[in-house]
């Protein structure tokens, strides 16, 4: 009997939880705020689903109820992607080491 592809996805999911567990424990506490903003940005990869939804209309009419929700989701996810990565970048740029010449 063939294995349901769902089982493969479930395996990826479970293993990723473990990867996440170990990776996140290694994050230094002083970077916990950037951690939250970057996880925010990457969870917006949900835009992938939104794009498929947005493109689901047929060539005659781009907009139908389903694709409109897709377009809205695209805009929301895009706010998060750009906002999340840029604000993380901005924060990380501020973390500096002690300058040796300045006492």
């Amino acid at each position: 009997m063939e294995i349901d592809p769902l089982i493969f996805r479930l395996s990826i999911f479970i293993l990723s939880i473990f990867v996440g567990y170990y990776v996140v424990w290694s994050v230094t506490p002083s970077l916990h705020t950037p951690l939250m903003s970057v996880t925010n940005a990457i969870s917006s990869v949900i835009i992938v689903g939104a794009i498929i939804a947005g493109l689901s209309g047929n060539s005659g009419s781009v907009f139908n109820t389903s694709s409109i929700f897709g377009f809205l989701a695209i805009a929301l996810a895009a706010i998060n992607i750009f906002g999340g990565f840029l604000v993380t970048q901005r924060m990380l740029a501020m973390y500096k080491k002690k300058k040796k010449d300045k006492k």
Partner: protein
């Protein structure tokens, strides 16, 4: 148009890049590179999606327009937001992830053919279950984050809102969500789908209102986790590896952060979630102790004490963020350093309104991160330090947590500030902190209270140094 297998491999690559993005955060030096990996992963995922749909018609133009509109709003916010408002921003962003998950689920429910999930009214059972879980968690994330945002922004009162029968009501709603999902899957009725969404929005709202302001670090981390699980739910529906990996990463990341925050307060997760903390304990402690004498001083006294010290430890808290005192503080420290005084910063895990809040503010004020220490790293140094400068922190310094088993914060790890030769405590009044209990530190022999706004006091001290 590229094959499904090839695009699956690219989604896997972007999932791995997201893992590397988080891995980079293990130290500030590698963190910027990590963020770059994250951006790269996102670009790959989006590009592959375009290529695999192979649809570059009018719809594609609209997709680009919406990305551009959302992207500019996001970029604008990212550059304009002050660092003190990070907790609100993150809460706001969580709500958007939640809502996006809901919208994608709605879209998939209305037009399952586009996603290869069957036909309307006859969606594959597995997909329908995944879809409704994703939608429900997304809705909870959305309304919960909105409440968290309003509380952090101060639009809604930070004090817990409780009413009779709150917990039974929440329990009934949560059970009804499961029942609704069951019936939705057996009947495929769209009415049930809408009811499910409405009920999920409601429970997100009800779950967060009883939780008070200073518990926000737990709430934000928890919502972070939820947004991940919502993304994973949608990822299963769309059979998309990138989304599943990311959802799992974000979900576990948020869960770990909530755990760290709960541990920092010595409270169980359920205790925080059930809420109402700080609303009930106020009367027991305050009445009898009000008469105790306190020593208070001015900027001049504080400057004198610090000038004669050889090492100073600074303990910042939420009050520093409120007063926007981080830059003034750095200037004071610069002056101290010119006088050859050793200065370090001690940060409690739950200082501020979100994990790592204080570290970001100090980094913004150009404080080098190797002068900033976590509780375990620095707690033994208080005994050897001359002055502890507490600015905007309160409960996290309260020695009662170590001495009084009756106290609601008993057992919470605290900074051993009282072991310093002298303690300078900047505070606007003697009022108790968030936990509603008196801080014994105020009445210690070696404590000098500085009653003033944190920023003004720090500036005055600098002038007197």
């Amino acid at each position: 148009m590229i094959s499904a297998n090839l695009s699956a491999i690219f989604y896997l690559i972007s999932g791995v890049l997201f893992i590397l993005a988080l891995r980079g955060l293990s130290s500030p030096e590698t963190s910027r590179q990590g963020n770059f990996f994250g951006i790269l992963g996102m670009i790959i995922a989006v590009t592959v999606t375009f290529l695999s749909t192979g649809n570059f018609s009018t719809g594609f133009v609209y997709v680009l327009i919406f990305i551009l509109v959302g992207g500019s709003i996001g970029a604008f916010i990212a550059y304009r937001i002050p660092m003190t408002a990070m907790p609100e921003l993150v809460a706001g962003f969580h709500s958007l992830v939640g809502l996006a998950a809901v919208f994608v689920a709605i879209s998939a429910f209305l037009n399952p053919e586009a996603f290869n999930l069957g036909y309307q009214g006859n969606i594959k059972l597995g997909s329908l279950i995944e879809m409704s879980i994703g939608a429900a968690v997304g809705a909870i994330t959305f309304s919960g984050s909105i409440i968290a945002f309003l509380k952090l922004q101060g639009i809604m009162s930070g004090s817990p809102i409780t009413f009779k029968g709150q917990h039974p009501l929440n329990a009934i709603i949560l059970i009804s969500i499961i029942v609704l999902i069951y019936f939705l899957c057996s009947t495929q009725s769209s009415n049930l789908f809408w009811i499910l969404l409405a009920v999920s929005f409601l429970i997100g709202f009800l779950l967060i209102i009883p939780i008070g302001g200073a518990d926000m670090p737990v709430v934000i981390s928890m919502l972070n986790s939820y947004s991940g699980w919502a993304a994973a739910g949608i990822g299963f529906t769309l059979e998309n590896t990138a989304l599943i990996i990311t959802g799992a990463l974000v979900g576990s990341s948020g869960a770990i952060l909530s755990y760290i925050m709960c541990k920092g307060m010595n409270r169980s997760f359920f205790n925080v979630i059930l809420g109402g903390f700080g609303a009930t304990d106020e009367k027991s402690n305050t009445s009898s102790k009000e008469q105790r004498p306190v020593k208070s001083g001015n900027a001049d006294d504080a400057a004198f004490l610090m000038k004669n010290a050889s090492s100073v430890i600074i303990v910042p808290g939420y009050g520093m963020a409120v007063a926007q005192a981080q830059h003034a503080l750095r200037e004071m420290v610069d002056t101290l350093k010119k006088n050859d005084i050793k200065v370090s910063y001690a940060i409690h895990p739950v200082a501020g309104r979100m994990p790592g809040h204080m570290n970001v503010l100090l980094a913004e004020a150009n404080v080098p991160y190797d002068e900033v220490f976590e509780l375990e790293e620095i707690n033994n140094d208080f005994a050897n330090a001359d002055v502890a400068f507490v600015i905007g922190a309160n409960d996290v310094t309260n020695p009662v947590a170590k001495t009084d088993p009756q106290s609601p914060i008993y057992g919470m790890p605290v900074l051993d500030v009282e072991k310093c030769k002298s303690v300078l405590f900047v505070k606007r009044s003697l009022s108790p902190g968030y936990a509603g209990i008196d801080n014994d530190l105020f009445y210690k022999e070696n404590t000098l209270m500085l009653f003033a706004d944190a920023k003004k006091m720090t500036e005055d001290i600098t002038k007197n140094l």
